[in-house]
Amino acid sequence: MAEITFFQYIYGDTILHRMDGRLKLACMLLLSLAASFATALHHYLLAFGLLIFALRLAKLPWTALLKDLRFFGLIILLVISINAWTIPGDPIPTLPLPGLSRQGVVAGLRFAGRLAIIVLVCAVVTGTTPLRTFGQVIEWVLRPIPFVPAARIATMVTLTFALIPVLLGQFAEMMAAQKARGIELRKNPVRRLYYAVFPFLEQMLRRTDQIVEAMEARGYSEVRTRAVFKSTKRDWLIFLLCLSVFLYVCCS
């Protein structure tokens, strides 16, 4: 999972890359809400159609994204099969497996569709938006709210995203190091968790202090120039498209 390209910005110069960050995040919010309200088949087809169009528009690398989706595919398969076998209902005549119910399969597929939409929306948005923009948009949203340190929260969000791949890489490295020393086989679950988390946290705490020092050395300050956003007609069109999909899914 360490090489996941999925939450990472991929450089490009397309309509979606140039889109106003505020509207892009609003679209993400709307689409993920729409995903949780979707019930009928045509809702899912609509959302998937829109997302495939967005993926083509953004010219993101298909193969790399699909490779990363394997992880989510595993979760989706697990969820479908658990739902299929635990929700009581009528058996499927063409697929006579013991315990399998039609209602269960439908519920599982619905859940899987929702998950896939959310993951794809996230892939499109994070693939076309640099981390800086994320932070700036969040600062822009929080700025008018009193007593909220907008700049600090924006820094926190940016750092969180930056840290996720670092953490995954560190964890994989540590597990490999333990395996190389032959200490991965612990039966006792307490020791197992402890020996996985202790060195990992220790490393990460040290690393975090280094990040703090690096930020100080580069003169980090919460008092800084504010970002200026510009939105074009095309951005508003994309936003309206997402809004209409959201309203359609919620109202029908």
């Binding site: 993400m28 809400l33 076998w85 993951v119 679950p189 968790l193």
Partner: protein, 201 residues
């Protein structure tokens, strides 16, 4: 008007304060990222909608290390990222619907967990017993809120809610509490010592 007055930033805090704030800012980001990763290491259970996750373990660790103020910030940030539509909740879920769905009580319960653990651990002298008790109290609150929520949303009776939302996790909770207490004992003193002092000319 003095010439320098014009260039002086109006809201810049004192240097020490700014330093502590920056350090805690980065730590909040670190622990939020840990909670997010913990949500991905989740195992769905065949008997109910609540999966076993490591997110609550990292929430406990957040409370132990950051205290209640910064810990609450960290968990609130996690919830906000989920609301925004990023797949950060257990198993890649996101959105307001999850927060108000059957398992939403556990997500809100994280706020209580981190607040209680952070408050008790950072009050008075540190001891292993106190940390363990703080974790037990926090988990009682977490599962109290979570199970009540599950019961209300799914409209099921208490026995069914407890069977789906509490009983399968008891062994996991005990393991997590033991490990979190052990981590607090070994790592917390080092963490509280603070970073290496800054280089001054």
């Amino acid at each position: 008007m003095e010439p320098n007055e014009f260039f002086k930033p109006t809201t810049a805090p004192r240097e020490d304060e700014a330093r502590t704030n920056l350090r805690m800012t980065v730590y909040v980001a670190l622990f939020t990222a840990l909670i997010i990763i913990g949500g991905y290491i989740s195992i769905p259970l065949p008997i109910g909608p609540v999966p076993i996750v490591l997110a609550d373990f990292f929430t406990m660790v957040t409370g132990v290390f950051l205290g209640y103020r910064w810990g609450l910030t960290s968990v609130a940030l996690y919830l906000c990222l989920g609301i925004l539509g990023l797949p950060v909740f257990a198993g890649g879920k996101a959105g307001l619907a999850v927060l108000f769905g059957p398992t939403g009580g556990f997500l809100f319960g994280y706020l209580f967990l981190v607040a209680v653990v952070g408050f008790i651990v950072h009050k008075g002298k540190p001891s292993l017993f106190k940390t363990a008790m703080a974790l037990v109290a926090g988990n009682l609150l977490l599962y109290g809120v979570g199970v009540t929520w599950l019961k209300t949303v799914l409209k099921i009776g208490w026995p069914a809610a407890v069977a789906a939302g509490l009983i399968p996790f008891i062994p996991g909770i005990i393991i997590k509490i033991v490990v979190a207490s052990a981590l607090a004992r070994t790592l917390l003193p080092r963490f509280q010592q603070g970073p290496v002092p800054p280089f001054r000319q």
